[in-house]
Every structure is written in structure tokens, then in C-alpha cells.
């Protein structure tokens, strides 16, 4: 009896030391989320950051020296098309292979339908968590997951969105958080929340529920370099487009060692994830998505070579530019059937008379004259009767977006391609 009493006493002391939580050896936590379909870093400028292959490398690298838990705040993709499904599958495969501990079910992922959600469950060993909807008999989703010394819950600030997509009823955010806190207290685990909500939502919850130890929120900004803390609640976000992940340490009493890890090119591609990506590209090739593209009616194109017969100086300038090799660069990288990429590397992918394939429309397999000036076949036939509009730097921003061309300076680059 003395031995039992001593053991109970010791356990009580340990609980007191660890602030009421189970003692646990320190573990590392890597937090990702809001990949939004950016499986690979995309763009025309280097160095690009992000990509799931680098993310996987990072996790495996850290696991060489420590126990690492991986948490994901959802939003695999933003759209609901076939390509989104293929992307989400590759990401789920990657996270599953990395033994992800918990994935928050986001409205974007739920909107792709119950089959898509089931697929994430299949590929990640049922790692989805969602406390924001009433249970669905056809597709059980846990409300919480135990990850080392923490209890991870998934909650949405917009539960109606998820409920509508999954054919069930929403649970108000505050009720879902209360259930998480109660379970965490019962199990002496540190409550951590994967939140489908903004920084403002996270701050509000941290103030209303001071027992929460960690809130991972969603943001369209980059991750702050310093973590925000409200009371004892740490507020973090992995940012958007999978450009960085958050790294933390936890020992059963507190989170520490907040770090934003940019996924820069020094992190080599993970071989297994590379294989998933190769599968993804093969599936894209087979899916014929380019042929299924939604196209607007348009006039006919002439091709840059035709333009060059009169506009020789402009043609020569273009022929020496990267624009003239834009589609070739995609072919080299294996993305020549990827609508996400092809639209900015050819002429008129979204137009009825625009690019189809290198074989069918060889004159349009580049960023050509008509990418900016519009279809020119009529102009080529009757140059003085049909005039094409002049183009300015505003055309650049259609493809050189902040995410695809970070740091792109239209004025500087305009000087390079300017012609009469």
C-alpha cells in the first residue's frame, strides 16, 4: 500500500510540475496547411519557395534526431475540378507516408464531396479531425487526435460550410472548442486547435478559451517571424501556398522553439514524394484535362512566325527571349499537360481557337505575339483593315502574379521586351 501511495504521490507531483498535463519527453512539431494546390513551387523567378517534396525532406531530416509530429491545417486545394482531385490525392499520399498525426477538415476539402474526403482518410490512415459537424454514419471522422503530449482538435469558424458539403448539421465553434478542452482535461493532454479561421478568429478564441495551449490559424499572409501569445495560448500559422512550415517543440508542459522554416531550394526533393508527384503528372497526362478546358469563343490566331514576316524587329527580339521558349521549359519539366502551368506558357489556352497541343497548334506553343495583342489571323490577312491593340505592362500581370513571379518588376522587364 505504501508503494501504491508513493506512486500516486509521485504522479500527483509530476502532474503539478507539468501544469496538470502528462509528462512527456520533448517532441518536435511541424505544422503545415493551406497548400492550396501548390504541390511544387511554381514560377518564373528563382529561388522559389515551397513544395511538398521539400516539406517531406524537412520532416524526414528532423526525424533523424528527434520524434517529430506532423500536423496539417487542411485546405489541400481550393478548387473542385479533376485536377484538384489529383493534387489532393498526391498530397494525401505524401502526408500519409509521413505519418501525419492530424489533418483539419477544411471547407475547401469538404466541398469536393464525401468521396474526396474518404480518399484523404484512406491515404492518411484516418487522420482527419473535425469537431464542427455532427457525425456522419457513412464516413466517420474523429473530432480529436492524440499526438504525443497534445490533444489536437479540428474546428471551423464556418461550420455551416462543411456541414452543407457533408450532408450533416454544424456544431457551433464554441461548443466544439469546449468539447476539445473537456476531453483534454480528462486525458491530461495539452489542448491544441487546428482552426479553419483567421487570425482574428484565433485571437477571439484565445481570449474566450484561455486553456487552449496552441491555435493554428489560416492566413493569406506569410507566417509571422515571432509567434503571437495571448495568455498561455500560442497562435501560429503556416501561411499560404505551402511556402513555409512552422516548427515547435513541446515537452508536455509548454510549447517552445517557434521557428518559421522557409522551404527553400537547399532542401532537396524527397525521393518517395517525387514518386507521388511523378504519378500525379502521369495521371494529368492521361486525364486529358487540356482537352476538357473551358474555352471562350475567339477569333483565329496566326502564330508568331506569321507576325514576323512584317514585324521583323519585334519578332527577332521575341525569338531571343524566354517567352519564345516558354512551352519548351514546361515540356522539360514534365508539366506540358498541366493546365495550371500551360495557361501561362502558350497562346490562348482559354480561347476556342487557341493552343491545343504542340502537334495541332505548333505556332501557338510559346508565349507569342498574340498572347498580348490578341488573335491576329484577320490582321495578317488584312493588315490595314483590321488593327490589333497595343499592349502594355498590364498584360504582364496576367501571368506574372505575386505567387508565380515574386519580386517581378514589370517596369524593369518591360524595358527588356519593349518593341514597336
Amino acid at each position: 500500500m505504501k508503494w501504491i501511495a508513493a506512486a500516486i504521490g509521485l504522479a500527483g507531483t509530476m502532474c503539478a510540475i507539468m501544469g496538470g498535463f502528462q509528462a512527456h519527453k520533448p517532441v518536435e512539431i511541424v505544422i503545415t496547411g493551406d497548400i492550396d494546390g501548390f504541390l511544387t513551387p511554381c514560377g518564373c523567378t528563382v529561388p522559389m519557395t515551397g513544395g511538398i517534396m521539400r516539406q517531406a525532406t524537412l520532416v524526414r531530416q528532423l526525424r533523424k534526431s528527434a520524434e517529430v509530429l506532423l500536423l496539417c491545417n487542411g485546405a489541400f486545394v481550393l478548387g473542385r475540378g479533376k485536377q484538384d482531385d489529383l493534387k489532393a490525392r498526391s498530397l494525401a499520399e505524401t502526408l500519409g507516408a509521413l505519418n501525419v498525426s492530424a489533418i483539419n477538415l477544411s471547407p475547401e476539402d469538404a466541398r469536393r464531396g464525401i468521396g474526396a474526403v474518404q480518399e484523404i482518410q484512406n491515404l492518411t490512415d484516418n487522420s482527419l479531425v473535425c469537431g464542427s459537424i455532427r457525425p456522419i454514419s457513412a464516413l466517420p471522422i474523429r473530432t480529436t487526435a492524440v499526438a504525443g503530449p497534445i490533444l489536437v482538435g479540428g474546428v471551423s469558424a464556418h461550420p455551416a460550410n462543411i456541414a452543407l458539403s457533408m450532408g450533416t448539421y454544424p456544431i457551433p465553434e464554441a461548443d466544439a472548442v469546449r468539447l476539445l478542452l473537456r476531453e483534454a482535461a480528462d486525458r491530461s493532454l495539452m489542448p491544441a486547435l487546428l482552426l479553419d479561421g483567421s487570425q482574428a478568429d484565433a485571437r477571439d478564441l484565445a481570449e474566450r478559451f484561455p486553456d487552449l495551449r496552441l491555435i493554428v490559424y489560416r492566413s493569406t499572409s506569410d507566417s509571422p517571424l515571432e509567434a503571437e501569445k495571448i495568455g498561455q495560448t500560442l497562435l501560429v500559422t503556416p501561411g499560404q501556398f505551402g511556402k513555409s512550415v512552422i516548427r515547435l517543440s513541446v515537452d508536455g508542459a509548454a510549447f517552445s522553439g517557434y521557428q518559421v522554416v522557409r522551404l527553400n531550394p537547399d532542401l532537396k526533393d524527397d525521393p518517395l514524394t517525387k514518386r507521388f508527384m511523378a504519378d500525379y503528372l502521369r495521371s494529368l497526362d492521361a486525364s486529358g484535362l487540356l482537352e476538357e478546358m473551358v474555352r471562350r469563343p475567339s477569333r483565329a490566331f496566326a502564330g508568331s512566325k506569321t507576325c514576323g514576316t512584317c514585324h521583323k524587329e519585334a519578332f527577332n527580339l521575341w525569338a531571343g527571349s524566354k517567352h519564345s521558349r516558354a512551352f519548351g521549359s514546361l515540356e522539360v519539366q514534365g508539366h506540358a499537360h498541366d493546365p495550371d502551368c500551360v495557361r501561362c506558357h502558350v497562346v490562348g489556352l482559354d480561347l476556342s481557337k487557341g493552343f491545343r497541343s504542340r502537334q495541332l497548334t505548333p505556332g501557338l506553343a510559346a508565349v507569342g505575339c498574340e498572347s498580348c495583342h490578341g488573335p491576329g489571323k484577320d490582321h495578317a490577312a488584312r493588315p490595314h483593315a483590321v488593327r490589333l491593340s497595343k499592349a502594355g505592362t498590364e498584360m504582364c500581370s496576367k501571368c506574372h502574379t505575386p505567387e508565380q513571379s515574386p519580386g517581378f518588376n514589370a517596369l524593369t522587364m518591360w524595358a527588356v521586351i519593349r518593341h514597336r
Binding site: 464531396g113 480518399e119 518517395l272
Partner: protein
């Protein structure tokens, strides 16, 4: 007047430059020559003292340090590095190691490195100490940590101030590093300019030139900007940079996002003011975003300041579908509404609309106003104004799940067409329609899929598989509208790609079988 120092110039470097200039101004050329010796030189002696480092790590650390110096040599070919022997009287830099460094004030992490300046000719000019352990919990310093620390040390020696953002060599963070960081463009320019300043002062001392010692002083307003925008707006903000000092103020603005464009670097004369422009393209954001712009200057008291931009962003338009995104089409077909709600002040008049894809559907639209919720934006029912699109899907579509796209063409040049995906489902479907098991090994694994029809109930009469390694069964208790099927892999397939088909027999004579493919990579 002396040369203008570059932005991101370290206060200690500026103080030394000022002391040389003050001596020159007073005609004290001996003191000027003495102070000049404290400035960085292109031929650097480095003492590498790894006697405190564990023997197993010494070689790794040395290689990392050499690699950082090689990176500097590559960027600045005019530099040369010589090794100083241990105990040599006056190396320019001494790099040594200590087990754990003290925590800097206000930090809960031990310092990863610390640098001490000395004006004693018998001591190293910069005594730089690297922690052998760092982080919380403490971990042994790795190759990347030492590389980054030595790069930081060199930046410090050449007069670089700490960076505002990570991903450059002057990031002062004490956390363990996972990758090597490089010297940014701003830092490269600053090192070159600092070395030009040193050369200029050397000539001035040699020629006994009299220089006027001056210093700039920055006033920056505002440091935080809160604003609102409609998605796609090009937001422009002006920030006032004033120079209250008596020397020219050099500045360089550096945003943390490609969506932000800033005024190019410049110089503000003493007692002058300039408005600098920061433009943010909000096209990629909805709801809101926070961006930062670092302002690097040569003000010794404010080498780096950070402007924060908080922008609340309202979407340009919303598409609201009260019935959800997936429609179960009964035999007679169905009609459903979809609403296009432009933001206030945005003209987004539809010109035409069409449905593309494998659905026999028609669409017509008309102006609309009424009450609707927008759950995604957390808005309950409220008065909205826009256009109602009535989509009419005919009932004789094939069974299964189809995706089509509603295309709305508008008169707005910025949004000439808006596309929206519609999922239509008829009859019994498998969700997902092909089952991916991912990577499997030599142990059994199970995954699930649903066979569902929201309309009349149906029965599953049997399930077969064409693979000896794959078995499928109905999960008991499911049905009669939605059945869960569990697919089990027995862990016995050869490595490579596993392809199988599961055939579900149903009681519906129109759809007697549903075929579902099963795929896995066997490791």
C-alpha cells in the same frame, strides 16, 4: 563631407567611420589613422579556435566555416582570407566555441553566437563565439548552424546590420538552422559600399584631407497602416521618410511579398522629407492580408525599421449556391438557382452564360435582389443584389457523377468570364470512383469507399474482386441509401504497382454492377 554610408549599415561601423571623420575634421590625422585601423580590411586574418569543440565535430565545423568564407570570397573577389595561428597577436577575427551561450535579454533561447569588438591592437578586432549547443531543447550545433554563424560573423565584420526578415545571412535568429542562408542583394551592395567608404577614408587620411563629420537621422511615419480594399484593387500607400540629421540619409525599402512594390532606393538630403510609395496588389487575397516592408537606412540609431500593412479585403464578387455544390438529379431532372453577387461599387453585368461539360443543361439569368446567407464569409441572411442564374438540368443524363462548368461572360474587362464548377449525380455512384490505397507494404491494410444513391433505397447483392490480394465487403450496419465498402489488402503482393477491380452487384436493374478500380504502390 565624407562618403554616404549605405542602408543596412551596422551602427558600430558607422560610429567608427564617424570617429575617423571627426578626427579628420579637427585635423588630428594621427588619431584618424589610428581609428582607421578599426575598420574592416580586404585582407583578413582569421583565427579558428575549435579547442572547446568535441573532436567528432571539429572537422565538420571547420569545413562549414571554410565554406562560409568561400561564399564571401565568391561574392567579393577582392577579399582574401588568411589563417592566423593560435595565439597570434592581432587577427582581425577570432572564431571560437563555447558549450552554451547566455540567453539574450528577453529571449527564452540561448544565443547561437555572440560577437565582441575590441580596440586593443593586441586583441582580435572581432572576437566571435559560437555556441556548441542551441535551441530549446538544447541540441548540438550542426553544419548549417556553423555555416550561418560564420556568414553572420563576416557580415558583422564588414559592417552589416541585422536583417528584418529571415532567409538572409544577417538574420539574427538564435534558432537551429536547417539550411544554409545566403547574403541578400541589399547586403551584398552594403558590403561593397562599406569597403568603398573604407578606401575613401584611407585616401583621405593619407592625403590629410579635411572631412565634415555628419550623421543622418531618420523619422518614419506611419509604422502601421490599416486599410480596406476590394479584391483586385492596387492599393497605394505613402510613408513619410524625413531626415532630421545633418548627413544624407540613404534608404532601401524591402517588402516581404512579391505582391508589394516599393519605391527604389534613394537618398534624402539633411532636413529634407520624402514620401515613399508602397503599392500592394490585392488580387491574390480575399478577406485580408498583412504585409511588411523593411526600411533599411544608414541612420546609426535606426538601421532597420519595419512598416506593417494590415489590409482588410472584400471579395470582388461572390457566387452563392443555397443548395450546395453537388446535386442529385432525379429522373425528371431538376432546376436550381445560383447567385452572382458583385461587391458594392463593382459592375459585373453578365452578357451571356453557358454550361460546358457532359451535362444536358440550360441556363438563364436575370437581375435579382433578396436575402441570402454567405456561410463562407460567416454572414447570415442579409439583403443582397446581383443576378440569379437558373440552371435546368434535364433528367436523361447517364447514371454516375458528372462535373460541368457554368461560364458567365461579363462586360467587366477585369473579369470577362467567371467559371463555376457544378457536380451532378444520378443513380448509384461509388465515392471515390477509384480507390487509391497509397503505399502498402508486407502488412495488411484497409481502406473504404461509399456506394450511394440519395433517392430510393437499394441493396448490395454481392461484391467480387479480380485480385487474390484484394478483398471487399460491406461494412455491417450501413445502407439502405449509402453503403460503406471496406477494401482489404492482404499484404502479400509483389512490389510494384497493384491494380485491381472491385465489382459491386446491386439490386437496381438499371445499374446491376458498379465497377471500382483499386490501386496501390507495393513497397
Amino acid at each position: 563631407m565624407g562618403p554616404i554610408l549605405p542602408p543596412q549599415c551596422r551602427p558600430s561601423f558607422q560610429a567608427t567611420v564617424l570617429s575617423v571623420e571627426q578626427a579628420l575634421q579637427g585635423g588630428d590625422f594621427a588619431t584618424a589613422a589610428e581609428r582607421l585601423r578599426l575598420l574592416p580590411t580586404a585582407s583578413i586574418t582569421v583565427e579558428w579556435d575549435d579547442s572547446n569543440a568535441p573532436s567528432a565535430y571539429r572537422d565538420l565545423y571547420k569545413k562549414s566555416g571554410d565554406a562560409a568564407m568561400a561564399m564571401y570570397k565568391h561574392l567579393f573577389p577582392f577579399l582574401s582570407f588568411q589563417s592566423a595561428k593560435a595565439g597570434q597577436a592581432n587577427p582581425d577575427i577570432k572564431i571560437s566555441f563555447e558549450p552554451v551561450l547566455a540567453k539574450p535579454p528577453g529571449s527564452n533561447l540561448p544565443a547561437s553566437h555572440v560577437g565582441f569588438w575590441s580596440e586593443d591592437p593586441a586583441a582580435p578586432r572581432l572576437d566571435f563565439v559560437i555556441g556548441l549547443s542551441r535551441g530549446a531543447p538544447l541540441k548540438a550545433s550542426q553544419e548549417t548552424d556553423v555555416y550561418d554563424d560564420v556568414a553572420y560573423c563576416l557580415g558583422m565584420y564588414f559592417g552589416l546590420a541585422d536583417a528584418a526578415f529571415e532567409s538572409s545571412s544577417m538574420d539574427p535568429s538564435d534558432l537551429p538552422r536547417l539550411t544554409r542562408t545566403g547574403v541578400s542583394g541589399t547586403e551584398t551592395s552594403a558590403v561593397r559600399r562599406n569597403m568603398q567608404v573604407v578606401e575613401y577614408l584611407e585616401d583621405a587620411v593619407k592625403n590629410h584631407a579635411r572631412l565634415l563629420a555628419v550623421q543622418p537621422s531618420l523619422f518614419l511615419d506611419p509604422l502601421v497602416i490599416n486599410s480596406q480594399a476590394v479584391q483586385g484593387d492596387q492599393m497605394e500607400f505613402n510613408v513619410q521618410l524625413s531626415n532630421h540629421g545633418d548627413g544624407p540619409l540613404a534608404f532601401n525599402l524591402f517588402p516581404d511579398c512579391g505582391c508589394t512594390i516599393v519605391t527604389p532606393p534613394g537618398v534624402i538630403q539633411p532636413k529634407a522629407m520624402r514620401l515613399v510609395n508602397i503599392a500592394v496588389d490585392t488580387a491574390a487575397f480575399i478577406t485580408g492580408t498583412t504585409k511588411h516592408v523593411a526600411v533599411y537606412t544608414n541612420d546609426p540609431h535606426n538601421p532597420v525599421s519595419v512598416i506593417t500593412l494590415n489590409i482588410k479585403i472584400q471579395p470582388r464578387y461572390r457566387i452563392l449556391v443555397p443548395l450546395g455544390d453537388t446535386f442529385n438529379i432525379p429522373d425528371g431532372g431538376m432546376k436550381f438557382p445560383l447567385y452572382l453577387i458583385p461587391a458594392k461599387g463593382t459592375t459585373l453585368d453578365p452578357v451571356s452564360a453557358t454550361i460546358t461539360g457532359p451535362l444536358d443543361a440550360k441556363v438563364k439569368f436575370s437581375p435579382w435582389q433578396g436575402f441570402l446567407p454567405d456561410p463562407e464569409m460567416n454572414e447570415g441572411p442579409k439583403a443582397r443584389k446581383g443576378f440569379k442564374f437558373e440552371i435546368d438540368i434535364r433528367g436523361d443524363i447517364p447514371t454516375g457523377r458528372r462535373q460541368a462548368t457554368l461560364q458567365i461572360f461579363t462586360a467587366n474587362a477585369d473579369f470577362p468570364d467567371i467559371a463555376y464548377s457544378i457536380n451532378a449525380q444520378k443513380g448509384i455512384v461509388a465515392l471515390p470512383d477509384n480507390v487509391q490505397m497509397g503505399s502498402v507494404g508486407a502488412v495488411p491494410k484497409s481502406v473504404r469507399f461509399e456506394v450511394t444513391r440519395p433517392g430510393p433505397p437499394f441493396k448490395i447483392l454481392g461484391i467480387t474482386s479480380n485480385s487474390r490480394n484484394i478483398e471487399a465487403n460491406v461494412v455491417p450496419g450501413t445502407g439502405p441509401n449509402t453503403y460503406t465498402i471496406e477494401v482489404s489488402y492482404n499484404g502479400k503482393a509483389h512490389s510494384g504497382e497493384l491494380l485491381a477491380a472491385v465489382r459491386v452487384k446491386t439490386s437496381d436493374p438499371k445499374q446491376p454492377v458498379i465497377d471500382v478500380s483499386v490501386q496501390a504502390i507495393v513497397q
